[in-house]
């Protein structure tokens, strides 16, 4: 089972994408030292079963124990003054986190639902307020060229700065923080947990990390102090100043490019395309490892012209080596009237992107498809064989094809 959220990727969601066997293990909740009896954690756990029909995915991994005892949520515990905003007259504030630029009156919240104006001071309500945490294969984000076969300590808070009609994580992304179960997990604890579970990376994912930027930055700093890297799974809808502050702390970033059409972004995503393209260019200039996911939604963003336009833009602005994942849509949330994306459509998208000259074009959410594998753009030999999130074969040596010595871009080893 896969997901369609902003972090849809290869089923990148706290529910539905955790492999099947986990749910069948009665010890899964026993693994939790704090019973996750509130909604989102239950959703995470229960939906694990939904992936049971896909036996190809990697070995099951547990949801994480975050606290020794169940914690009572205290608003004051999570409320930290936001870092990206301006104060306006009449106790209003102007949020500078994402391009939406919400002007927020006293006692009100921004579009994301997790930032609140309290008497003219703007607060994030989700610092250290973790509503989902799992140990995931990094392939699930998906990162195919970044530490393949490794684990990512993956976490989320509530909230999102867009409202994709296909989001499969809407129960946390479209919720206010007080509406989902959360635990207090401060940055150092995040780093400790990542170490404890042998994760070389912390992944900020599932909902939209932009809306919990302050926590991302602090957790990344704590992680780096402990030798843990940070990777971000984002919609890329972020203002430049906050982008610099957040992304400079990241070791790799995956961006959901949801379409190559402004009208799609307006109608389906409730966002804008242009700032996302700007983010991709900024990432390129910052030298951050970046992969792109494009969720292909039947009839809405699956035309040849759109695929061609996007691939051409990527080639011109980002180069031919950035991996792009065309992933399969599954009906959910407010878009239940459309079918699952036909595999033939994904293959058409891939063919177009390859014809435009992109070197690493993948198909996602179709376990076992040959386009899950990495092929050498020079000699065409298969270099990484994948099934779902599992690495079957890894032949890249010292960042190069072992057959023709072609350099293969990515971060292949810790």
């Amino acid at each position: 089972m896969t997901t369609n959220c902003c972090s849809q990727a290869n089923g990148e969601a706290p529910r539905a994408e955790v492999p099947a066997a986990a749910n069948s293990e009665t010890g899964r909740f026993g693994f939790l030292s704090a019973p996750m009896n509130r909604r989102s954690f239950l959703m995470c756990a229960m939906s694990v079963g939904a992936s049971g029909s896909i036996p190809h995915f990697a070995e099951s991994l547990p949801a994480m124990p975050l606290a020794e005892t169940e914690q009572k949520q205290s608003d004051a515990q999570f409320a930290v003054e936001a870092r990206f905003y301006d104060k306006l007259p009449n106790k209003k504030v102007k949020c500078k986190l994402c391009p939406r630029g919400c002007a927020v009156g006293d006692k009100e919240r921004g579009y994301c639902g997790v930032r609140e104006n309290r008497g003219g001071v703007y607060y994030t309500l989700v610092h250290s307020r973790v509503c989902a945490a799992h140990v995931d294969p990094v392939e699930k984000k998906p990162f195919f060229h970044y530490l393949p076969g490794s684990l990512a300590f993956s976490l989320a808070t509530a909230g999102c700065n867009v409202n994709c009609k296909f989001c499969q994580n809407w129960d946390i992304s479209q919720a206010r923080p007080e509406q989902v179960s959360s635990q207090y997990v401060p940055p150092r604890r995040v780093a400790e947990l990542a170490l404890q579970y042998h994760c070389p990376t912390i992944a900020y994912t599932y909902s939209e990390p932009t809306v919990f930027s302050e926590f991302v930055m602090d957790a990344a700093d704590a992680g780096h102090e402990a030798g843990i890297r940070s990777i971000l799974v984002s919609n890329g809808y972020i203002q430049n100043e906050s982008l610099r502050a957040v992304y400079s702390r990241m070791d790799a970033v995956k961006i959901d490019l949801k379409s190559f059409s402004e009208s799609y972004y307006q109608k389906i995503v409730t966002g804008e395309l242009k700032p996302v393209l700007d983010t991709l260019v900024a990432l390129r200039k910052m030298g951050k490892w970046n992969e792109i996911v494009y969720l292909v939604v039947p009839t809405l963003n699956d035309s040849d012209a759109e695929f061609t336009g996007m691939a051409s833009w990527i080639k011109a602005n980002l180069g031919t080596d950035v991996p792009i994942h065309f992933t399969q849509f599954h009906p959910d949330y407010l878009l239940k009237n459309l079918p699952i994306t036909p595999v033939s459509t994904l293959e058409r998208a891939r063919d177009i992107a390859v014809a435009e000259g992109l070197h690493y074009v993948y198909i996602g959410n179709v376990p076992g498809h040959p386009a899950e594998n990495t092929y050498c753009p020079q000699c065409r030999r298969m270099l990484v064989q994948r099934t779902g999130f599992e690495i079957r074969q890894m032949l890249i040596r010292k960042g190069a094809c072992p057959f023709c010595k072609q350099k293969i871009p990515g971060v292949w080893h810790a």
Binding site: N90, G105, E108, Y111, G113, R176, Y333
Partner: protein, 339 residues
């Protein structure tokens, strides 16, 4: 001077037409819901009831006076009748009644506690048991900040926020909106009585009856762009709201003409009035005019000139929504003045 309230006080029904009142009083076995009334060909009726002497010497709203004002407002709306009997046109014994208040503005500008108590008194007089009444808003803490006492058990009027019971897991959607609905509305309510406050709103223009329904859904933050248009209209189209909403009693004892929706004392005035209607669109239309008049009196630009006219009111009235009328020619405004 201490206000002396009694039913015998002189009242003015300055423009009392039969209109919608006769429809309501016309012998229906069960009360009509607001949607049925709003879609009827009869004129919508809005009653604005004032009492200049509503407050005690300390400036607080007097409980007896607000009950009296409420009675006059209801008589203006539903036709002259004994006050308690009027409410049997809104509710019938055995129904679960929820009173949705607005508490964002804290004690400064939230639904008045004395007014809500008066409503509950009349509901009980009409045969609704105390424990079948719920006073509610999004959050229990906000209710307390506004002066309500949270009560969740016993044979008394209940009062708590949605945070106490949560939202339904399933989404409901209409048009641009997809939301989870408060379980108070879905599980603890047969009849919804809306008790908003008359306020300016920095994004939507005004927040009165229609926008108060944002407190019913789990994700109102998603529906503030574009002056909340068409989102407010779409939220009010959600079946649980549309079919259960039977009456709006807008608290304009204190009202806000600028800087809303939070409490700004410098922009708040004691209007000492109630607006009562079964057509939320018509009520919002009249309420908007009242705010504009106050803004003009204070030398402020119109909301339209500020680029924040509440367009959602017209959307709520359009052919796709038909939640009521915003056409002044189809609204019968009845003013009741106690003095």
């Amino acid at each position: 001077m201490r206000n002396e309230c009694s039913p015998s006080r002189r009242s003015f029904l300055s423009n009392c037409l039969a209109g919608a009142a006769s429809l309501v009083a016309g012998g229906h076995a069960l009360p009509l819901d607001a949607a049925e009334l709003a879609s009827s060909p009869t004129k919508a009726k809005v009653v604005v009831a004032h009492d200049a002497l509503l407050r005690d010497a300390g400036g607080a709203v007097d409980s007896r006076c607000i009950l009296n004002l409420l009675d006059h407002a209801m008589q203006g709306l539903l036709g002259a009748d004994e006050p308690v009997r009027l409410w049997t046109k809104i509710v019938v014994p055995g129904q679960l009644v929820s009173v949705k208040v607005n508490t964002l503005g804290g004690r400064g500008i939230s639904s008045n506690v004395q007014l809500v108590e008066a409503i509950c008194e009349r509901l009980q007089g009409a045969g609704i048991k105390a424990q079948q009444i719920v006073i509610w808003d999004r959050d229990s803490t906000e209710l307390e900040r506004a002066g309500f006492r949270v009560r969740t058990g016993g044979n008394q009027v209940q009062c708590f926020g949605t945070d106490h019971v949560g939202y339904e897991d399933e989404l409901v959607s209409h048009g641009s909106v997809g939301s989870r609905i408060s379980k108070i509305l879905t599980q603890r309510c047969d009849v919804l009585i809306n008790v908003p406050v008359l306020k300016d709103h920095d994004g939507a223009g005004v927040t009165i009856a229609l926008k108060n329904m944002y407190g019913v859904i789990h994700n109102p933050n998603k529906y503030h762009p574009n002056g909340c248009d068409p989102y407010i209209a779409d939220v009010n189209m959600l079946p649980e709201i549309r079919t259960k909403l039977r009456l709006t009693i807008c608290d304009a004892t204190s009202a806000c003409y600028e800087g809303g929706p939070s409490f700004k004392p410098e922009f708040t005035w004691q209007h000492n009035a109630l607006l009562v209607a079964q057509d939320s669109v018509a009520l919002d239309t009249i309420g908007w005019q009242m705010i504009e008049r106050k803004r003009a009196e204070k030398g402020l630009k119109t909301l339209d000139a500020e680029g924040r006219a509440p367009r959602y009111i017209a959307t709520a009235a359009d052919a796709a929504h038909r939640l009521g009328t915003n056409d002044p020619r189809r609204i019968t405004l009845t003013e009741v003045r106690l003095a």
